[in-house]
């Protein structure tokens, strides 16, 4: 009789499971863990960042001695922006010891930002697109409000702590798709915090602009300019929901509506005399 090798039963070495359900369960659990982690760490680290006295920010920036591009700026532009900042700060309850330094950078970047040490940077790429002083004032007050709210320190603290926590947590999940998905989830969760900061800065800025000019005309126009710029740069309306979801700033349409609501609530006039840009403004840009 020929020897017969009896085969083992099928599936002895394989766990029977539905891979799709298994994936969904693990994915949902991982996303919940990441969201909870990012929210907790960010809240804690942001508070720690805000509690650090402003003088340490100044001290840190004086040691770094970073050139924001202000040295290359024209004297007229520098003076104009600094004067505008001083005028707006009068309405913003800036605490003693806090200061704001405005820089003008010639790069063709459509942006302005506030960073540690009360440094506010305006790029020529943004300034040349703003139609009047009221729009510049809204941006300026917005960035000063970030300094006032200690957002750069909070953002730095929250961002660093979140990044380290995500690295520690997702490091075990290896590189590639899983790491990307978990890190993206962390980044999207983090945008919630930056959006809250932007909304608070908008509200504070609108109040300062209203007190300086007696109305908020021009502030909503600013966001229309930003909206047009974004639309013309990507031209992709299908991405709008994603922009809403992932952008660090609230959507411009939302911001316009929010500004209008706030103005109505405070009885700030929505119309008024627009202050034109000073003569020679565009020549100062170069």
């Amino acid at each position: 009789m020929e020897y017969q090798n009896k085969q083992p039963d099928e599936g002895v070495n394989i766990t029977r499971h539905n891979p799709v359900i298994h994936l969904l369960k693990l994915l949902v659990a991982a996303l919940i863990v990441i969201v909870v982690l990012v929210v907790t760490v960010n809240m804690f680290a942001s508070r720690v960042g805000r509690s650090v006295p402003f003088k340490y920010e100044l001290s840190l920036m004086s040691h770094i001695n970073y050139d924001f591009g202000g040295n290359a700026s024209s004297d007229q532009m520098q003076t104009y922006l600094s004067d505008l900042a001083t005028r707006l700060m009068r309405h913003m309850n800036i605490p003693e010891g806090m200061s704001v330094t405005v820089h003008h950078n010639h790069d063709d970047v459509f942006n302005a930002f506030a960073t540690l040490g009360g440094n506010v940077v305006f790029y020529s790429g943004l300034l040349k697109n703003l139609p009047h002083e009221n729009a510049i004032a809204m941006v300026m007050a917005h960035e000063i409000a970030h300094v006032l709210h200690r957002d750069p320190a909070a953002g730095l603290g929250g961002g660093l702590a979140t990044m380290m926590a995500l690295m520690a947590l997702t490091g075990n999940a290896g590189t590639g798709a899983v790491g990307n998905v978990l890190n993206q989830t962390g980044a999207i969760t983090q945008t919630k915090f930056s959006r809250d900061m932007e909304r608070a800065a908008d509200n504070a800025a609108l109040g300062a602009v209203a007190m300086e000019y007696g109305h908020v005309a021009g502030a909503s126009e600013l966001f229309k300019v930003l909206q047009n710029k974004v639309s013309s740069s990507n031209g992709d309306r299908d991405d709008e929901w994603y922009e809403t979801f992932i952008s660090t700033h609230p959507l411009n349409v939302e911001r316009i509506n929010s500004i209008l609501d706030l103005a109505r609530y405070n009885n700030w006039p929505l119309a008024g005399e627009i202050t034109p840009l000073p003569v020679g403004f565009h020549t100062w840009l170069n």
Partner: protein, 167 residues
């Protein structure tokens, strides 16, 4: 948006094509295992001593790649810990395929038995390029044709000395 779309497409494609390839592979494995069932492959280190055999080293190797879905699922399991069940079928297929290739080689040599069968496993690549190599090897015993002059290897001579009744 595009990144999310690409990721989902890769995940779905990985699942569909990976499942299809796996089912097809298992069908082939089960069919060939039945065909080669009469050729025993055993782990014993001692050869059969019932008659005179020629000994041949036979081996079968295979490299099986993971798909995107399996790798992603394994990465998630890595996050929480636990059995990486998505790779179990991968390893199972690789082991059985390597064994079948080894048996096919032995069958081609008209072997009656493979003894001292062992497996070697090696990962190739890492992360999303993870794949596994399995090598099965053993000693095939091919009966000597009666007209052949008897080949008494030193090992066989020792076995004969231990079992005089075999002579």
């Amino acid at each position: 948006m595009i990144e999310i779309g690409i990721f989902l497409i890769l995940l779905v494609c990985g699942y569909l094509f990976g499942s299809l390839a796996e089912k097809r592979h298992y069908r082939s494995i089960i069919k060939r295992e039945a065909e080669l069932n009469s050729l025993p492959a055993i782990a014993s280190r001692y050869p059969a001593t019932d008659k005179c055999y020629q000994q041949h080293l036979v081996y079968g190797g295979v490299v099986v790649a993971s798909d995107y879905f399996k790798s992603f699922l394994a990465g998630l399991v890595n996050f929480f810990g636990g059995a990486v069940v998505s790779y179990e079928s991968l390893i199972d297929r690789a082991r059985r395929e390597a064994m079948l290739r080894m048996k096919a080689e032995a069958k081609a040599k008209q072997a009656e038995l493979i003894f001292n069968v062992k497996f070697e496993t090696m990962t190739i690549g890492s992360g999303r390029l993870a794949s596994v190599e399995v090598l099965a090897y053993g000693t095939a015993l091919v009966p000597q044709i009666p007209s052949d002059p008897p080949v008494i290897t030193p090992q066989y001579a020792r076995i004969l000395a231990l079992n005089p009744s075999q002579a």
